[in-house]
């Protein structure tokens, strides 16, 4: 909401479609994310929300439609996708830290190989990012020695070290033990407060309510409803949205 009108959106999805064989997972997604905006994407499992996120940085190739990152059509055949991906940070459900590398090396390796940063600068940046997520003292550990929450915070630091213009979070807390969810959400909330553009697929309704500028409810491959959290959670327009929220909130209460 911070961008002035007419500015180039950070992410612009236009009639995005994705099929796996005969199964059509995304059936025409339109979504504009302005710079600095935080969008939470909610929906039942299998509704296509992870696929949507994976299409943004082309881990999945859309079947049709366009994906524009800061005005650049990344679905164009001549687009250098590696350069675009370097500007789009992604955090995975399963953390996906490089298990053969130390925490510090996890955060420096892409800075050096992709951005061409000198080693010393990459290390300085890594330390700054690890400090930000509160894990600088773990720099020499291997990922297997960290808790899930710590691993996910390192994964966030790794993505941030690339100076991304957008961060994608693919159910970043879903694989964590309940007591570790908080520390990751806290880091994500701080990031949001600092003005990072964020696209967050999540089951954490509390986080969505507090942090999102807009919440998009995905159902059967389309964005059924998209509005500010207060509106979507308090007075959903669609019956399906209402039923989904009811199910989720029941679970949270029981």
């Amino acid at each position: 909401m911070t961008a002035e009108p007419g500015a180039v959106p950070a992410v612009d999805l236009q009639d995005l479609r994705k099929s796996f064989g005969r199964l059509e997972v995304l059936r025409g997604i339109d979504l504009r994310v302005a710079a600095g905006e935080k969008i939470c994407i909610i929906g039942a499992s299998g509704s296509g929300k992870s696929t949507l996120l994976r299409c943004v940085n082309l881990l999945e190739r859309p079947t049709s439609g366009r994906v524009l990152i800061e005005g650049v059509d990344v679905t164009a055949p001549d687009c250098d996708i590696d350069r675009v991906r370097a500007r789009v940070g992604m955090v995975f459900q399963q953390f996906n830290l490089f298990s053969h590398l130390t925490v510090e090396r996890n955060v420096t390796i892409a800075q050096e190989t992709v951005l061409g940063r000198p080693h010393d600068l990459a290390v300085d940046t890594a330390m700054a990012m690890l400090r930000r997520v509160g894990l600088e003292e773990k720099r020499h550990e291997y990922p297997a020695r960290l808790s899930g929450g710590q691993q996910q915070r390192v994964a966030i630091a790794r993505a941030l070290a690339m100076d991304p213009s957008v961060m994608l979070f693919d159910e970043a807390t879903s694989a964590l033990d309940p007591e570790l969810v908080g520390e990751v959400l806290r880091v994500m909330r701080e990031l949001a407060d600092e003005g990072m553009t964020m696209l967050v697929v999540t089951h954490e309704m509390g986080f969505a309510r507090r942090v999102a500028d807009r919440v998009a409810f995905i159902d059967e491959g389309v964005i059924l409803e998209e509005s500010p959290p207060a509106e979507l959670f308090e007075s959903p327009r669609e019956e399906r949205t209402r039923r989904f929220l009811q199910r989720v909130l029941e679970r949270d209460e029981s």
Binding site: N57, L59, V84, R85, M90, Q94, N96, T113, A159
Partner: protein
């Protein structure tokens, strides 16, 4: 926890568990007794003096040294090193071809691997040494050259399968994380996937190395000069010269001195890799 009739369980029902213990104690005593009988029989029936004279003659044992180490074992290790280096390089390329999205690469690698694995190593070796010069006028210079090339060709097919399994065992999320950070496919492979794959395949790869070391014995059948004799040829020539089995026994012991530490090392590396993960 059901142990009733009709439910297939691996565990025997608790009431019968004590029974096998007593039979196995009985069985163990029978085994000890049998072993003792065989030992006594061997001690009495075997002509130990003759056996020692034909297999462990001290002067012949000493005669093998130092050349069995400085020449024969050295050559065995040279063939192993060159064969393995070539086989590893070729095997990694073949594994990447098999995993390529470019179909002709996949087909070529699959056919190569199937053909080589389906042929006796000895046939490939003889073909390289004698078939190629006749058929295609290709002469690989030197026994070192011919032997190493043949071993590299044979081992590459097996190594390719080990490497491919290792690459496939690296979780897909590792590649996705690397690509999402902007690494190219090649960078992700070189920096992230292949290093992890190699950790996974160190034990099976050491196994391949031991097999290759033993396969160097095949080189004894192609023309070998005095300087390029490896352990098996050295032992065999020793047998011919002395009409005694001692040189072959010594060669066997040298093989064991090389292979046993390698298998032990593989076990150690495997434990260490598991600990660091």
């Amino acid at each position: 926890m059901t142990s009733g009739a009709g439910s297939p369980t691996n565990e025997p029902p608790p009431s019968r568990r004590r029974l096998p213990v007593s039979t196995s104690t009985l069985g163990q005593w029978a085994l000890y007794g049998g072993t003792l009988a065989v030992v006594i029989f061997l001690a009495v029936a075997v002509d130990w003096a003759r056996l020692q004279d034909k297999m462990f003659r001290t002067d012949l044992v000493l005669d093998q040294f130092p050349r069995i180490v400085t020449q024969a074992a050295k050559n065995t290790l040279i063939f192993t090193a060159f064969g393995f280096a070539g086989g590893l390089a070729l095997g990694v390329v073949l594994a990447l071809m098999r995993l390529s999205t470019f179909r002709p690469y996949r087909w070529f690698a699959a056919v190569y691997i199937d053909v080589i694995r389906g042929l006796p190593a000895l046939l490939v070796l003889i073909f390289i040494a004698f078939g190629l010069p006749i058929a295609l006028d290709i002469r690989i210079p030197g026994t070192y050259g011919r032997g190493s090339v043949a071993l590299a060709i044979v081992s590459s097919a097996y190594i390719a399968e080990v490497v491919r399994a290792g690459i496939e065992a690296v979780p897909k999320g590792q590649t996705e994380a690397a690509r999402s950070l902007g690494m190219s496919h090649g960078q992700a492979m070189r920096r992230i996937v292949i290093p992890q794959a190699f950790r996974i395949i160190i034990p099976p790869m050491t196994n391949e190395l031991v097999l290759l070391l033993k396969d160097t014995a095949l080189i004894s059948v192609i023309g070998v000069t005095e300087a390029t004799k490896e352990l098996t040829r050295f032992g065999r020539d020793g047998v011919n010269a002395s009409a005694n089995a001692t040189p072959l026994v010594v060669a066997g012991l040298v093989y064991l001195a090389l292979t046993l530490p390698m298998t032990r090392l593989a076990g150690y590396l495997e434990r260490r890799a598991r600990a660091s993960r």
